[in-house]
Point group: C2
Chain length 228, copies 2
DNA sequence: TCCGATTTGTCCGCAGGCTTACACTTTTGG
DNA sequence: CCAAAAGTGTAAGCCTGCGGACAAATCGGA
């Protein structure tokens, strides 16, 4: 069962764990610490002094940044098979605090210490290269979000976000594209950098126009092109 | 002379080129393509199909992103000794176009092909690790700018930018901190994501309060703490 | 099944800062 | 050395969308 899971994980992360053979994966698996968590649970993954890399094996979670006034911003949504932790940890200096929270019913994740991970990267340079590309990809993604925040208005940012979501997790059906929903209006607002009320408004406009249906369980995008 | 320059460059980039000996540096130097450019010159560094990594040896330049309406955003300021190119190239999909422009009187840069660079990283895993950390650092930096754009108002973003600049290139003097200026109000506006007029206004407020002096050649921050 | 908590719906005033518009100043290049 | 271009100063109007306020709906747990 554990090996089964590892196999799965291995597939999801081919770009990174490609170069390891079964034995090495098994070894990494021993290194790794497994953990389960329930919906809503908060994971404080940036303990000072303790540096871990996390791999989300099952479920989804959000990485939230809080400033001194208590304003929250969702920095990233971590999906099945994605790495997080070291990468996200904020610059250190600032007065913002960061935590992760479970969005789906349950979540399975494992972690390995930063130093173990680095040892692995040194042993398998090919893997270091893959890892670098992975980080580079995130850099591009965030850079995209950044320029969107400047170039686009709130509504267009929401459209952008929904299209991206549809692309990565959407399921095509006769009635449109179905997204299994694990986000509230508030969550989405914090992702696209808007007020919750503004987000609600846009959703309702689309609901009335009949191009989208939002519910807590799922979102149906009936017509992607009319989404604007 | 060339070796002198390489030595210098080596120092500036210790985190990356640490592990190479003189011979290897010389070799990299042969691999590399040198180029000089004048102030104002535009470098189209993202040719499709051609993947290069650039190292800025001397001077400063800005990386600009342009959207379909012609709005410009400065994605990054590249300073002496910094790498750019592959890292910055936008996600590919979008309809934004990117270019670099020389800010200082003259600029010296060299480039090596992505594949040569990757070969080097594979040969020196320690270097791959350093490079990974470098990319990670940029990720953090951009993530910081992103959350600033959400949490902070325009004026505070300008303060943040100036403080950062002062930290990286400021020169302490009796009259305050001196910054050799290579940016116009427009440039700064495009960095902090504000309108040019807004930026001008803030500078003038500070000028009147006597906490800062702006000119095209230099910026003197007389009192960092009163800058708000 | 019921109660409290969370999420969603709606309205509206207010403000930050973008736009437009133009005058003035400094730099650059022929 | 002069004209054109680039950069700076200043002001007014307008618009997006934030924030507060509350009601209604939905969920989750005891």
């Amino acid at each position: 069962m554990v090996i089964e899971e590892v196999k799965y994980w291995h597939i999801k992360n081919h770009q990174l764990f490609w170069f390891l053979n079964q034995e090495q994966i098994r070894q990494l698996c021993i290194l790794a610490n497994f953990k389960k968590a329930q919906k809503g649970e908060v994971l404080e993954f940036v303990q000072p002094g303790q540096h871990y890399i996390y791999l989300l094996k099952k479920g989804n979670l959000k990485v939230v940044q809080v400033d001194e006034e208590g304003n929250e911003l969702i920095v990233d949504i971590i999906k099945q098979g994605e790495l997080f932790g070291e990468l996200e940890s904020s610059g250190g200096k600032s007065n913002t605090y960061e935590y992760a929270q479970v969005l789906t019913d349950k979540v399975v994740l494992c972690r390995f210490s930063k130093s173990d991970f680095e040892r692995l990267l040194l042993e398998f340079p090919q893997m270091a290269l893959s890892y670098t590309k992975l980080v580079g990809l995130r850099l591009k993604k965030i850079q995209n979000r950044y320029s969107n925040l400047f170039f686009l208005k709130a509504k267009d940012r929401l459209v952008f976000f929904l299209k991206e979501w549809a692309e990565s997790e959407g399921e095509k059906m006769e009635k449109g594209i179905k997204l299994t929903n694990y986000l509230t209006h508030k969550d989405i607002a914090q992702i696209i950098c808007a007020a919750r009320q503004t987000t609600t408004q846009f959703f309702n406009e689309w609901e009335n126009e009949g191009v989208l249906h939002y519910s807590r369980k799922e979102i149906i995008i009936k017509d992607l092109h009319r989404l604007k």
